[in-house]
């Protein structure tokens, strides 16, 4: 029989299949939909990361105390207001004024911003909550940060009791929006909001000398991190080497056992991509498991379907079907089940990836929305067809090997 004809008969089998087949298809649908959704989220995340990195450029270095811990998810310099800052105790290595002096002596560095981070209680119009606070050098921060101002202004070197807040805090955090020049209370003292940055987070930025008073466990003159802008991005590696050498000298440590880490945004990006791909792989593995479950469902349905169609197989053989005709019809049937499942799954997956950011809220990872790539669509279709064929292979083979007389006798 010509393949075209086999396909026609396989298609008719799917069309006339019972609810059971459609339930089987649902198994594939769920698997494919979750794969598509996960892939779209991860490409969305990748877009966010590369956008951030694009803004940052390669000219930012971040210095923190302690041996290298790799990058942290929330970006260099704590721009995302994460709580990732290490709360240094006396025993652990610290960044101090000495380090800043040493850095300032290096001609290759353009800007140096000292930062501390902590969590503070904030209240506004009778409502309160805990948010992260970053103390920054008000003279430098505005020139080094990747944040852009939405309303008002950035911090200024003369600023005292003022803060810049992130958009999320301004718009959504307290039932009512917080506007420019309004007062918020942080741990009992009043601060005036001078700027709102274009960001959905809940972080607060204030001059570092004020922050020392609000974040109680910090010692004045000790920093959580130092953000550095280099003069010449093309000389980044050389600058990193010089800076490292200088720090090793002033901190009296050896090159083999440094008590600080100096990371560039490029390294950070690499670390972050590595972390993200680990996470993606993990999520994909979960989705793959659901696809496998779907495949088992297809195999099960195919076995039942072969049983159900035993008599028809006998008839087909009596009227001239060769084993390979029967094999092709049943294989194509299961491939079609996979294909239909794949296509419906992709449609659900696209809907799902559109809904996910809404359902899960605009958390950091989904900030960039989701992106369904054509590649993932083709991949999903291919995979589901292959799964259909693999799952149908054994039942189809058994169907093809049935002896005509036995098949005909089957009721």
């Amino acid at each position: 029989m010509k393949l075209r004809k086999c396909l026609k008969h396989a298609f008719e089998m799917v069309l006339h299949s019972k609810i059971r087949s459609w339930l089987t298809i649902l198994g594939i649908v769920i698997g494919v939909a979750s794969v598509i959704a996960i892939m779209s989220i991860s490409s969305g995340m990748q877009t966010v990361v590369s956008n951030q990195m694009g803004n940052l450029g390669g000219d930012i270095l971040t210095l923190s105390a302690g041996a290298s811990r790799g990058g942290n998810m929330f970006g260099p310099g704590g721009d995302r207001g994460g709580s990732g800052g290490a709360s240094a105790t006396n025993k652990t290595p610290e960044l101090t004024r000495t380090d800043v002096q040493a850095l300032k002596s290096l001609p290759d560095l353009k800007l140096i911003d000292t930062e501390i981070r902590g969590t503070v209680t904030i209240s506004y119009l009778g409502k309160s909550g805990k948010v992260s606070l970053t103390g920054v050098d008000p003279a430098v921060w505005s020139k080094i940060t990747t944040l852009t101002i939405a309303q008002g202004r950035m911090l200024d070197s003369a600023d005292q009791n003022v803060v810049v807040i992130e958009g999320g805090l301004a718009n959504n955090y307290f039932g009512k929006p917080v506007g420019i020049n309004q007062m918020i209370t942080i741990s009992g003292s009043a601060f005036r909001v001078v700027g709102i940055v274009d960001d959905t987070g809940n972080g607060i930025y204030m001059p570092i000398n004020m922050a020392y008073q609000e974040i109680t466990d910090k010692t004045t003159g000790v920093y959580d991190s130092i953000v550095i802008k280099v003069k010449d991005e093309s000389q980044l590696d050389a600058t990193i080497n010089k800076t490292t050498a200088k720090l090793i000298a002033v901190r009296h440590v050896t090159a083999k056992k440094p008590d600080f880490s100096l990371t560039s945004s490029k390294q950070m990006q690499a670390t972050r991509s590595a972390m993200m791909s680990t996470m993606n792989n993990f999520l994909l593995a979960i989705a793959a498991v659901s696809l496998i479950v779907g495949a088992v469902g297809v195999a099960n349905t195919m076995f039942t379907s072969v049983l159900e169609k035993t008599k028809e197989i006998g008839i087909m053989k009596a009227i001239g079907a060769r084993n390979k005709d029967v094999l092709s019809i049943f294989l194509m049937n299961s491939a079609l089940i996979g294909l239909v499942g794949g296509i419906i799954g992709i449609m659900f997956g696209i809907v799902l990836s559109g809904l996910l950011p809404v359902l899960m809220g605009e958390t950091g990872m989904l900030r960039g929305g989701t992106l369904v790539s054509l590649n993932s669509v083709f991949l999903a279709i291919g995979v589901s067809v292959v799964i259909g064929i693999l799952a149908g292979a054994i039942p189809a083979y058994r169907a093809s090997k049935l002896k005509p007389v036995d098949a005909l006798r089957y009721e």
């Binding site: 029989m1 010509k2 004809k5 008719e12 089998m13 006339h16 008599k311 028809e312 006998g314 008839i315 087909m316 053989k317 009596a318 009227i319 001239g320 079907a321 060769r322 084993n323 390979k324 005709d325 002896k403 005509p404 007389v405 005909l408």
Partner: protein
Amino acid sequence: MATKKTTAAQAGTVLLRFENVWKIYKMGEVEAPALKNITVKILKGDFVAIIGASGSGKSTMMNLIGCLDTPTKGKIFLKNQDISSLSESDLASLRGRTIGFIFQQYNLIPSITTFDNVLFPLEFLEYDDEEAQKRTRDILLKVGLGDKMYNRPTQLSGGQQQRVSIARSLVTNPEIILADEPTGALDSVTGREVLEMLHKLWKEEGKTIVMVTHDLNLAKYAHTTIELKDGEIQRISTND
């Protein structure tokens, strides 16, 4: 043995030959022979009725004639070819081209139309579409089902379904038509109609017809009658 003088021009040519054929069903340790050492010839252009009591081995013999089953011992020759020497796919093609089956329970495929049921064997033989559809239409008109082409088998009466199955058996223009109790599920009037149809195919188109029946009245339509008893040939008679 059938010695035909008058019927068909091809009389005397052997179409199918059984040589010491045994069919033994094994049920656990017990061996139950359904056919015992059968040697018989079926001539081209003959109309053969196989009769016998229930359990005498009629269907078993029919399945062997139709190459749906293989003998336990002995050899079967179809058009002088030892069928045990053929590959599965050659045998299937030979069956598709040479043999048309009519079953007691019609054995139509319920999910497709009358037309597609009749078209089906041509698809296995890879006929070209136009030719296949023309043949199918012609044959359906011939069996009087021109108005039921696009109905499903379940929408047809028993007699109509049997006519569909006759059309399906004829569409490939086979040399031999096998019918196992073709009237078994039909009332006597419809049954006779079906028999007349087979008789006409034999008389006018020179088809070889082998029919199983236990109705001796219907067996009278045949030219040669093979009577089985307990898996052995009791008697072969011809009416000229």
